[in-house]
């Protein structure tokens, strides 16, 4: 299939492993799904912190279940990416550990307090879920299938995150103040979660033309603001004055992009932020430490293996 045909046919769940697709499509889809999968893993490095910090046994259980789901999503997504025949999962995981693999901006900031749990589990996850819902109609079918299962599970994550926010904002004055301080720090990062405005985005035009992406950054950010600002305000969080958020003529909301630190954003996108170094370093060390187990399993698979490969 040539690119022109791909663009013509582009639509929800239009292409799958049986189709012969141009390299440009397969590479773009791989980049997108790999980024998504990497983000599930790297989000775990933040969320894992909250399991230990959770202030109730049931919160701890919920948190560990949530982290488990995220790893489950990574498993689904790496597989969906592998079906494009560009990279294997092992290659993608290697790239993540060496700092070549890219992932969401918010996961480049290490966390150390429970107050940050709703930042990740409510706002970032809520934003991610907005995007994931639109990806149910991506043109790469295995990706759409993965999104079906991911979206099925995510509702728990977002409600769990909101429940934590609500509890903290019903806490003592000191707790509410800590929450507001945390929000002030995280809010600009969350706004940048949806990336730069459309005309600055590098890969988006093509991804949309071939149906991989079905909503623009701008649309997603707008709908996120419409839903999540009222939520933040409902619990008593004040939206920081900067970055300025304004209402458009049609009643939707938008961010004044000049108020956001795009230098930091692009540093992050190159994995060169100080937090990137810390998070990726942690990933690499942890992966290296269990390399012996994977080697041991490989030895087992190739020798004592479960069932020998049947001859063709």
């Amino acid at each position: 299939m040539d690119l022109e045909t791909v663009m013509e046919r582009a639509g929800p769940r239009e292409f799958g492993p049986g189709d012969e697709l141009p390299e440009k499509y397969r590479k773009a889809a791989t980049r997108m799904i790999q980024f998504h999968a990497n983000s599930e893993v790297m989000g775990g490095y933040l969320d894992k912190t909250f399991t230990r910090k959770a202030p109730s046994l049931d919160r701890k259980l919920a948190n560990t279940a949530k982290v488990q789901d995220e790893i489950g999503h990574a498993q689904l997504l790496y597989r969906a990416a592998e079906t494009l025949d560009v990279k294997t999962r092992a290659e993608m995981l290697d790239e993540l550990a060496t700092g070549e693999g890219k992932f969401l901006n918010c996961f480049h900031y290490p966390v150390d307090s429970w107050y940050e749990a709703p930042m990740i589990d409510f706002f970032v996850d809520g934003g991610a879920m907005r995007r994931q819902a639109t990806l149910k109609s991506t043109s790469w079918t295995p990706y759409a299938h993965a999104m079906d299962k991911v979206c099925f599970e995510e509702g728990f994550h977002v409600k769990h995150g909101e429940s934590i926010l609500r509890e903290l904002m019903n806490g003592s004055k000191a707790t509410q103040e800590r929450m507001q301080e945390t929000f002030d720090v995280w809010w600009p990062r969350i706004l940048q979660f949806f990336g730069p405005t459309n005309d600055e985005s590098v890969h988006d035009d093509f991804a949309q033309a071939v149906g991989l992406k079905t909503a623009t950054n701008d649309e997603l950010r707008t709908s996120f603001l419409n839903m999540y600002i009222p939520k933040a305000e409902k619990y008593g969080l004040e939206i920081p004055e900067y970055p300025r958020i304004y209402e458009r003529d049609d009643g939707t909301m938008a961010v004044r992009e000049d108020d956001l630190d795009w230098k930091e954003f692009w540093t992050i996108s190159r994995n060169e932020y100080e937090g990137s170094t810390e998070q990726i370093g942690s990933r690499r060390r942890r992966q290296d430490a269990v390399e012996w187990v994977r080697e041991s399993l490989e030895t087992w698979e190739s020798s004592a293996g479960p069932t020998p490969q049947t001859a063709d």
Partner: protein, 278 residues
């Protein structure tokens, strides 16, 4: 399994002071082991060797937290609150064994697998030993926990088999066994009210008998995998640490981390997330 207690069982309202103290000791032993074991297992989340093994160890950690909750809930029926069981309880009053509080060295998946195995076999034995307990509320819950334990043992034995299949893995597993074995024996250390626990029929087996069963189960299995099981009489003795509340520094550090948010946020009660739909 019947929900109706046996006629000779004791309801919680009928407990004498002595009986209540013995039941509490039994429940805290069970609950603390599960809680601390689970807390350590969650350290593997995101760090496990593969995505699939990450999901599996996370599930086991959740199951063990869930079992801790079964036993803490029974203590709540006896008048304790969750803060009294966990969040505000002095770390020197915790009665978990020395095995479960040990921190994991980075990458020591052999420890995770073997610790799981040693623990899960012991857990099956001790759950079976309370299956016919005279304490009615406990009897109702044992089956639920036992069901989940079957997966845990399958998980542990499958991994053991594979990791001991090559020389490097074998050597690592032997190291892990030498390290863990003395601490694992403390699973069977008695607490101050051990005699009462057995005398009142709260547990139908003595710790000595359970220890023997455990040794007879793990010994041949591990030896069949080419591992040398240390002689229990020749390893460092725990001298009653663990079950009497004396713990390693690692426990105190862990306790501080676990309770840090609770101490700071000062919520009225810890949130419960329980079934709302039937």
């Amino acid at each position: 399994m019947s929900e109706t207690p046996r006629p000779d069982t004791i309801d919680r309202r009928e407990l004498s002071a002595e009986q209540q103290a013995a039941v509490e000791e039994l429940l805290f032993r069970l609950a603390d082991d599960e809680f601390v074991h689970a807390e350590r297992l969650t350290e593997w989340q995101i760090y496990a060797p593969t995505l699939e093994s990450d999901l599996a160890i996370a599930n086991i950690a959740q199951d063990e937290f869930g079992h801790a909750r079964l036993w803490y809930d029974l203590l709540k029926q006896l008048g304790y609150t969750e803060p009294e069981c966990i969040w505000e309880r002095d770390p020197t009053e915790w009665t978990h064994s020395l095995l479960v509080e040990r921190p994991f060295d980075a990458g020591d998946w052999g420890d995770a697998v073997l610790r799981g195995y040693l623990y899960d076999v012991a857990e099956r034995i001790r759950l079976e030993a309370v299956a016919d307990t005279s304490y009615a509320p406990l009897a109702d819950r044992v089956g639920k926990a036992l069901e989940e334990e079957a997966y845990h043992r399958e998980h542990a034995t499958n991994w053991l088999e594979r990791l001991t299949a090559d020389d490097d893995g074998q050597a690592r597993m032997q190291d892990a066994l030498d390290d863990l074995f003395p601490a694992a024996l403390s699973l069977f250390d008695p607490g101050p009210r051990e005699d009462d626990i057995v005398a009142f029929g709260f547990r139908t087996e003595s710790l000595a008998a359970m220890r023997t069963e455990w040794l007879e189960t793990i010994g041949p299995s591990l030896e069949a995998l080419g591992l040398a099981v240390p002689d229990p009489d020749e390893v460092a003795q725990s001298n009653g640490r663990g079950r009497y509340g004396t713990h390693t520094d690692a426990w105190h550090d862990l306790y501080d981390e676990v309770t840090a948010t609770y101490r700071e946020v000062d919520f009225e009660t810890p949130v419960e997330l329980r079934a709302t739909e039937e």
